[in-house]
Symmetry: C2
Subunit: 151 residues, 2 copies
């Protein structure tokens, strides 16, 4: 039984996870601190991860591409089995949720785009009339925006 390769079978060091998932070691630390991933420690207090963590990191990065904040990603991941491979159903749930999220964001951006289009050259920005400043829009606008107008 050769024991040459860094860590075989199913325990990866942070460095290996970092290299294989394409993120920095500090980011792995950070994700673990946030509870997004989990592992155990060896006798020398060094982090060891199951290779399942690679998929979790991939999932995190994909969700980030969709603009989902880590806290929300964490909520999704928390409902999933830890250290067990994501099942087809798990992955399906995630993708469906994220598609809904993406759909909302896309719709919101499209609305803004169309409003810009209809306002090209008008330059009005009238508080009363312009859809770009119309309070109705705010209700349909994306969530984390700061309060825009109140008159």
């Amino acid at each position: 039984m050769p024991k040459k390769t860094p860590s075989k079978s199913d325990h990866l060091s942070v460095g290996e996870v970092a290299k294989r998932s394409g993120v920095a070691v500090s980011t792995i630390h950070f994700y673990e601190g946030k509870g997004l991933i989990e592992g155990w420690r060896n006798t020398g207090n060094q982090r060891r991860y199951s290779r399942m963590v690679l998929r979790r990191v991939a999932v995190i990065r994909i969700a980030q591409r969709a603009g989902i904040p880590l806290s929300v990603i964490g909520d999704y991941l928390a409902r999933l089995p830890k250290d067990i491979a994501l099942s087809k159903a798990d992955w399906q749930d995630l993708t469906v949720s994220w598609q809904a999220y993406l759909d909302e964001r896309i719709a919101s951006l499209l609305q803004l785009r169309n409003e810009l289009e209809s306002c090209i050259g008008c330059g009005c920005l009238s508080i009363a009339d312009c859809p770009l400043r119309n309070p109705e829009d705010r209700l349909a606008a994306e969530g984390p925006g700061p309060r825009l107008l109140q008159d």
Copy 2:
């Protein structure tokens, strides 16, 4: 000549700008510090703004809705006349730029959405095969994302 109303003609205090544009006074300070808006001071060192600043603030908030960072908004605004009303052409330039920006972001989100769709249930996330992890995507992906994969 009545001089009752807070500040008539064409000089608004921060408070008035804040109230009329719907942002906090601290935000006006912040924008001024960032060079996004400009004004002058009265004899008592208090900020005074032309009413043109209201439109500028509206423009800033609209651009933020589109997800454009303040630094970029500042670059656009810097090329515009200060303290002079935005012309139709100015506004047109802005909206066209922002639409292009929005189009890119929308395209990028749609691509991700479609990739998710094609991957529903596959759960592969294969480094080699999965479009969600495929390096080709990165080139087409949105700008400010952290580096994703390098193998």
